[in-house]
Symmetry: C2
Subunit: 237 residues, 2 copies
Amino acid sequence: MLLMIHNQKGGVGKTTTAANLGAALLRDGHARRVTLVDLDPQMHLTAMLGPVGAAPVLTVKDWLAGHTDAALPVDGEPGLSLVAGTPDLPPTLPDALPTPERGEWRVIDTAPGWSPLVSAMAARADLVLCPTEPDFLGLSGVNRLLSRLDAAGVARDRVRLLLCRYSPRLALHAEVRARLAERFGGPMLLPVEIRTSVRLAEAPGRGRTIFGHAPRSSGSADHCALARALAQGLPPE
Amino acid sequence: MLLMIHNQKGGVGKTTTAANLGAALLRDGHARRVTLVDLDPQMHLTAMLGPVGAAPVLTVKDWLAGHTDAALPVDGEPGLSLVAGTPDLPPTLPDALPTPERGEWRVIDTAPGWSPLVSAMAARADLVLCPTEPDFLGLSGVNRLLSRLDAAGVARDRVRLLLCRYSPRLALHAEVRARLAERFGGPMLLPVEIRTSVRLAEAPGRGRTIFGHAPRSSGSADHCALARALAQGLPPE
Ligand SMILES: Nc1ncnc2c1ncn2[C@@H]1O[C@H](COP(=O)(O)OP(=O)(O)OP(=O)(O)O)[C@@H](O)[C@H]1O
Ligand SMILES: Nc1ncnc2c1ncn2[C@@H]1O[C@H](COP(=O)(O)OP(=O)(O)OP(=O)(O)O)[C@@H](O)[C@H]1O
Ligand SMILES: [Mg+2]
Ligand SMILES: [Mg+2]
């Protein structure tokens, strides 16, 4: 499975989702191994889960060129690997991505904004997961995002919207969910929310996923629910 | 005054700050008029405060070419104007920006990520205001942001860091503030926080600034405090 996480809107939870969904897919047995790929030149996923100290020698540039040894194991997360980001990404993808292993999910974290590289990756993805914030500015970005994905040749049945940084007690958030549900029902709007939780914001500072930092928190439960919803709702081949 | 709002990190509150600081500068008499300029191809500031219905005829492309009539008054905010964004920005700035009026502040909202256009605007700005989220991923972006600004020729005494989406009750947020204070004391780290408030998230959906939507909320108070702190702490000419 090649799962790309994208929203051109910033700070919606792309990186947070990439790391924690990756771990959840393994822990709940939906994947035999998961490779996280940091395709953001700002390298936040690498800052979160990458090796401490010296910058990694091999990066996503090498991985794209076929060096699967660019994927380094993530401490404390058996089966989870990370391909480190680089500030200087190639402008396009090669003809073929590295061949996945059996049962391997690859989860691609991307930068905010749109680019030819993101467009090319979206076209190859089995699923494009779009975290969205449940307020007006979040909503106002969704239409533009979906037309970008259309233009990149991504079939709508491969797109999943995920509400992140969600507060169950706020009327605004419930109202935005309702508006999205009436516009994009069916498999596109996932029946899961990633709730606001300070544990999710703390975990990166410990170099851990939510499962290593606060396994009994809402952040863990929500990412497990997300993994299950994605695995059960896969689009036809 | 030319004030550019930038952080390459997404979703930190650039657009929210642009709109509400602009209004606060007028309401508290620090500026005689304020022109907001939407330099983000995703046009969130325009979605928030721009005219409802047809897309604006004149945009920031026209404003940069010298058409000051591209600045349209914002309803309900005397003295506040908005130059609408456009998805297709020029790659560079012209030799001269439109001449400001006496007592006019121009507040420039920018996209996440870095670009030659942002670099060029930063070099011309009197102040570069950098909203930042008070957690690890927010912190890990600050160093990269500051070296980008250095490389663009922005003197450090023209940079202001502003903690946004701040929750006074969270130990994580207080700890991040403390870490920033020990690294960047002095005039750079503003003594103001923009606290998390659902009113700030609701206001864009009403086409209003926080002052039009919830004038007695913490969002209004915080942006007034921000305006005062900026006006009192201006760098030497
Ligand atoms: N559910 C949540 N609860 C609390 N904090 C969160 C949550 N999700 C994300 N955050 C925090 O919000 C900030 C933005 O999240 P994140 O960096 O994952 O978004 P992003 O879409 O990857 O941003 P960018 O567009 O800059 O790449 C981070 O500081 C993160 O720690
Ligand atoms: N203090 C706050 N309290 C509550 N919600 C906020 C606050 N500041 C911003 N928001 C909400 O958080 C989201 C991100 O804010 P905003 O769009 O202003 O950030 P940005 O840095 O301009 O994002 P981008 O990088 O995408 O341009 C928006 O949906 C906004 O309504
Ligand atoms: Mg990210
Ligand atoms: Mg913005």
